[in-house]
Symmetry: C2
Subunit: 367 residues, 2 copies
C-alpha cells in the first residue's frame, strides 16, 4: 500500500491499536482493511492487464474513504446509484462520478444541475422523457454528459434495440445542454457475451450513422474476471471490494477474500442444538438470493437458518455445548451491499485489531 | 382524537398545509396519520373490552411520538427489541419500557443499569447465564425486573419447559438486585391456544411452588383480535399501527387500514408491459414472507415482481401506456417494520396533504 492511502495509514500508524474485536459490542459490521486493499488491488491489476477502465460501484460500501482509495489505486472515477449518494461523494472530494440512472422530476433535476456544476458527472437516459428533462435543465456552458442505457438482456431499465439507442443519442446530440457520452448496460448474470453482442450490434448502427461512441460501460462483480471483450471500455463492479457469500457461490472469490463480516453475540441456547444470535434481518437483511440460510459463520459450515428482525437462529447438526451464551461469532452475509445500508457506522479491523470506525455517510441517501 | 395528541394537533392545526404529496420527492415513506390514529384506537378499545394490558411493540415505527400517542390512548407502556431503542425512547420521555431480550455482556449491562435508574424497565432471561449477568450488575436499591422468556412453540428464544421457567424464576428471586416480573413468550403464528396452554401448565407449577406470576406477556399483530384468554395479562402487537400486506393476508386488517406506503416514481418504461420504479430493496426490503411480489401498488392489483437495490419492476398484465414516466405510485410493502428501518425520516400525511416529517430516531439502534 502506498503512503498516500489514508485508511491504511490510519490503520497502521496514526492510531495506536488499543482495542481488539473482543472489546467492542455487537452487532457490529467489521471491515477487514487488508482484504479490502487486496480486493481493490487485484481488480485494478486485472483492469490494467485487460485494458479497460475500472469505475467501481460504491453502493456496496457508501464510504468516500474507500471511493478515494480505489481512485488512488487507478480507478477512473466511481459509480453511484442515487443522486443523494453522488452528492455525498462529491462533498467528500470525489471529482468524477457516474450515476447510471434516469433522473426524473424538477426537484432532482435542480440538484443534478448543481452537482454537474462542481464535478465531472455523467448520467443515463433510456427514454425521450428522460432526455427532455435533461435538455430543459442544462445549458451549453455546463453541459451534462448523458449515456444511453441499454437493456442487453438484464430485463430492468434500458432501450430494447440498437435503433432506439441511436434515436436517443440523436436527441441527446441535438440538445445544446447535453453531450452524448456513450452506451451503458447492466449485463445479465453470466450473460456478458450476449450483452456484448447486443452492444456491438448497436455500435455498428452508430458507425453507419457516423456517431462516435465515447464510452461503453458495462460490468458487475460476478463476471469481473472475464477477459477484455469489445466493445466494452469501462466496467462497474461493486461488491468485489468486500465480496460475500453470493460472490463465493459464483466462484469470483473465496471465503478468505470476504472483507465484511457482522460480529454477533450468542444471546440464547434454548436447546442443545439451537443457537440464537443478536443478528436478525435488521443486521443481515433478508436477502436469500437462492442461498442456503442468511449468512455463514466464519470458519465453520454453520449457517443462520431462520431469522426475525433481531434474532438469527442456527441449528447445530448435533447437540453441542459450543457456542456458549456470550460467545462471539463473525457472520459472512449473503449480500454485503445491503448490510452496509443497515448500519450507520462500520468498524475497520486488521486481523483482530480495531483501527476505528467509519461513518457510512452514503447510507440512507434514498433519493 | 383528544386535544392532547401532539402529532394530530400538528397535523390539523399548528402547521398550515402548504404541501401535498405531489410536492415531495421520492422514494419517501408516507404515514397516513388518520389510519395510524384509527389503528391505535381500535387496538386500545379491544384491549379494554377484553381486559388485557396493551404494551405496543415500537420496533415497527421507532418513533417516540407514536409511542407516546399509544400511551396517551391507554397503553400501559411500550415494548422495544434493542437496548439502543429503549435508550432513545427513554430520552424522549417514555417512562415504562419492556425490553424482552437477553442482555448479554458488560458493555450492555452497564447501559442497562443506567437506563433502569431512570425509567420503569423490565427485561427477560431464558438462561442462568443471563440471570447471572443481571444479578452481578443490579442491587436492591435499584432492582431490575426480569421476566422469564418461554418458548411456547415459536422456536426462537425461551426455556423449553415449565420446570425450567420455575427454576429460573427461583434464581431471579434469590438475587438481591432482581425482581421476578412474570412470564413472557412470543407465540407461534396462529398458535395462541397452544401457547396459552403451555403458559397455563407452567403457571400451575408456580402456584404449587407458591410463587406469584405478576405479568404474563404474549401477543403479536396477526393474532391481535383474538379474545381474552387466560393466563395472558398483557399483549405486545407492533405492526398493527401501520399494518401491511402480510397482515392483510392474515386477515387482521384490510388494505384500507394500511397506514405506511412508500411513494415511488416511475423512472423507466422499457416496454409496453414493463414499469420500473425508483423503489428497490433499499426502500422496500427483500422480505417476501411467502407473498407474491415485494409490494402492492395502492389502488390496483399490480405488484412489484422483481427488485434490485434501487429498482422495482412491475410487469403489467397487458400492454399499457399507464403509468407513464414521472407518474407517482404508492406502494404498500409486505412488511412495514423493516421499511421503517431503511429510512431516516418519514413524511406524515392526511389524505394528500403533507403535515411534516418525523426523524426515525430509533432507526439504526442496532445494539
Amino acid at each position: 500500500m502506498s503512503d498516500g492511502c489514508p485508511i491504511y495509514k490510519t490503520n497502521r500508524d496514526a492510531i495506536a491499536v488499543t482495542k481488539t474485536i473482543a472489546d467492542i459490542d455487537t452487532p457490529t459490521v467489521l471491515i477487514d482493511i487488508d482484504r479490502v486493499e487486496a480486493n481493490l488491488r487485484r481488480a485494478q491489476a486485472h483492469a490494467e492487464q485487460e485494458g479497460y477502465a475500472l469505475r467501481p460501484h460504491t453502493k456496496t460500501h457508501k464510504l468516500p474513504q474507500f471511493a478515494k482509495l480505489a481512485i488512488e489505486l487507478g480507478a477512473v472515477g466511481i459509480t453511484v446509484q442515487k443522486l443523494g449518494e453522488a452528492e455525498v461523494m462529491a462533498d467528500a472530494g470525489v471529482t468524477d462520478i457516474f450515476l447510471p440512472y434516469n433522473i426524473i422530476g424538477p426537484l432532482k433535476l435542480a440538484r443534478l444541475k448543481a452537482l454537474n456544476a462542481r464535478i465531472t458527472l455523467s448520467v443515463t437516459a433510456d427514454s425521450s422523457d428522460s432526455v427532455a428533462g435533461y435538455a430543459a435543465t442544462f445549458t451549453a456552458d455546463q453541459a451534462l454528459t448523458v449515456l444511453v442505457e441499454c437493456d442487453s438482456g438484464g430485463g430492468r431499465c434500458g432501450v430494447q434495440t440498437g435503433a432506439q439507442a441511436l434515436e436517443l443519442a440523436r436527441q441527446i446530440i441535438a440538445a445544446p445542454g447535453l453531450r452524448f457520452g456513450g452506451l451503458m448496460t447492466y449485463p445479465p448474470l453470466h450473460g456478458v457475451a450476449k450483452s456484448n453482442a447486443w452492444l456491438s450490434d448497436a455500435i455498428a448502427l452508430f458507425d453507419t450513422a457516423g456517431i462516435a461512441v465515447p464510452r461503453v460501460s458495462s460490468g458487475n462483480s460476478p463476471d469481473m474476471w472475464e477477459p477484455a471483450a469489445a466493445p466494452v471500455t469501462e466496467r462497474r463492479p461493486g461488491t468485489y471490494i468486500y465480496f460475500d457469500r453470493i460472490e463465493v457461490r459464483e466462484k469470483v472469490a473465496t471465503l478468505d477474500d470476504c472483507a465484511l463480516t457482522v460480529l454477533a453475540t450468542v444471546v440464547s441456547r434454548p436447546t442443545a442444538t439451537r443457537v440464537v444470535l443478536d443478528t436478525g434481518s435488521k443486521s443481515l437483511s433478508s436477502d436469500l438470493v437462492g442461498m442456503d440460510g442468511y449468512g455463514l459463520v466464519m470458519g465453520t459450515e454453520l449457517v443462520i437458518k431462520t431469522l426475525s428482525e433481531e434474532h438469527g437462529v442456527i441449528e447445530m447438526p448435533t447437540p453441542s455445548d459450543w457456542p456458549r451464551i456470550g460467545d462471539r461469532l463473525r457472520i459472512i452475509p449473503n449480500h454485503a451491499c445491503v448490510v452496509s445500508n443497515l448500519f450507520d457506522t462500520v468498524t475497520v479491523v486488521s486481523g483482530d485489531n480495531v483501527s476505528g470506525t467509519l461513518k457510512v455517510v452514503g447510507r440512507g441517501r434514498v433519493d
